[in-house]
């Protein structure tokens, strides 16, 4: 992990060079030895491309978080790994539920080759949280049935479940047998 100073220098570098603007990197966080950069959703492809140039060539994980009740609610986290220096960094972005759109990092774009590993993982974030990835080659539900309504892993989606059949309620089980 880059240490706290390294992280600040990295953030400064991203803000100043590369024409991203000073609002690209919103925040840096160094917690329990791990480094996190929070970025504007619009700049995610550019930030990841810059990080790839600096050596973080592997994306290990892409996952979503629902920050309810904090706004903006939906977060997408990208875990990057630099194999040669054994360094990890997390890039975080947050989008509100009203406009949950993010550029997909899967396909190739003008800023470089995409990250093919993000394919299924972005579909999972779409399925579970409802974050729409613009430009994804095949954005459809991956874990739930295709016609399922709702995004299960949002915090306001109920956990659900079936009542367990005991002797006192076996009469009104709507099973095939009863």
């Amino acid at each position: 992990m880059p240490d706290a100073t390294g992280l600040e220098l990295l953030a400064k570098d991203l803000r100043e060079t590369g024409g991203l603007g000073s609002d690209a990197v919103l925040d840096t966080l160094h917690f329990r030895g791990r480094a996190t950069l929070e970025v504007q959703p619009a700049h995610i492809r550019a930030v990841l491309a810059r990080l790839r140039e600096r050596g973080y060539t592997s994306m290990m994980s892409l996952h979503g978080v629902d920050y309810y009740p904090l706004e903006p609610r939906l977060g997408v986290l990208y875990e990057l790994l630099d194999m040669s220096k054994v360094d990890r960094i997390t890039v975080k972005l947050r989008v509100p539920t009203e406009a949950p759109e993010v550029d997909s990092v899967t396909p190739e774009g003008s800023d470089g080759p995409g990250w093919p590993t993000a394919d299924h993982q972005e579909r999972e974030v779409y399925d579970m949280f409802g974050v729409v990835f613009r430009g994804h080659p095949d954005l459809r539900r991956i874990l739930m049935p295709e016609d399922y309504e709702g995004h299960p892993q949002r915090r306001d989606f109920p956990v659900g479940g079936e009542p367990v059949i005991f002797t006192y309620n076996e009469g009104d089980s709507q099973g095939a047998a009863g």
Binding site: G161, E162, P163, V164, F166, T167, G171, G175, A176, G178
Partner: protein, 222 residues
């Protein structure tokens, strides 16, 4: 196959278990004797009645013995219970000792489906179609806690197997040991030989101790 009807009290409301048993028999194509079953027979009719019953009973018993000792399970594993199903077929807890080692890949050739693992809502119609493709007589064992009751995961993604197909034996465990699964399969064997194990209510003479569901009662499970 004759079905004895139990009457609870005067007029007899049928208990859910009897309903369940009857509907299973219906699925198997048995005829249920209605309320107009012959009560008394005389002479030649009686002789013919006894003759039919004895012959058919012996033949049926023989067929049931044959069927029960040669289940062809469907090679069907969903999740962790499938790993214990493999171990049951393995060298230590050898399922071949009992004659059930012929796991068929095609449901048309199998007569026992062991639901080994959690049934998700996407998989339930697939399993129902597999069960429908199996030919009569067929049996189903629900292995493990996830398909019998909801198990560890009582949430939006899972369906208990009782909701979409009739199950004969539920095997508890998470996952059940190979000995546990074997116990369940042998219970099924007894069931097929028309010698079902008495439920716990019969064993402990606990009839009459059922909880009655009252209309104003709040269901703690829901």
């Amino acid at each position: 196959m004759e079905v004895r009807r139990e009457a609870l009290g005067a007029g007899g409301t049928r208990s859910p278990r009897i309903e369940e048993h009857d509907s299973k028999e219906l699925l198997r194509g048995a005829e249920l004797l209605g309320p107009t079953a012959p009560a008394t027979l005389e002479g030649e009719e009686l002789e013919r009645y006894v003759h039919e019953r004895v012959l058919t009973t012996t033949l049926e018993k023989a067929v049931a013995w044959g069927r029960s000792n040669s289940f062809f399970p469907l090679a069907f594993g969903l999740a962790c219970c499938a790993m214990e199903q493999f171990q049951t077929a393995g060298p230590r807890m050898d399922i071949a000792r009992f004659g059930y080692e012929a796991f068929r890949a095609s449901p048309r050739q199998a007569d026992l489906i062991i639901l080994a693992g959690r049934v998700s809502i996407k998989m339930a119609p697939v399993i129902r179609r597999l069960y429908d493709q199996m030919l009569e007589p067929k049996w189903a064992i629900s292995m493990g806690a996830c398909c019998s009751s909801m198990g560890v995961f009582n949430n939006y993604a899972l369906v208990p197997a009782d909701k979409f197909m009739p199950i004969d034996v539920h095997v508890p465990g998470c996952p059940p040991r190979p000995e546990g699964l074997m116990h369940g399969i042998l219970k099924l064997r007894k069931l097929v030989q028309d010698d079902p194990d008495a439920g716990w209510r019969e064993r402990y003479d606990a009839r009459g101790t059922e909880e009655i569901r009252r209309a104003d009662r709040v269901d703690p499970g829901a």
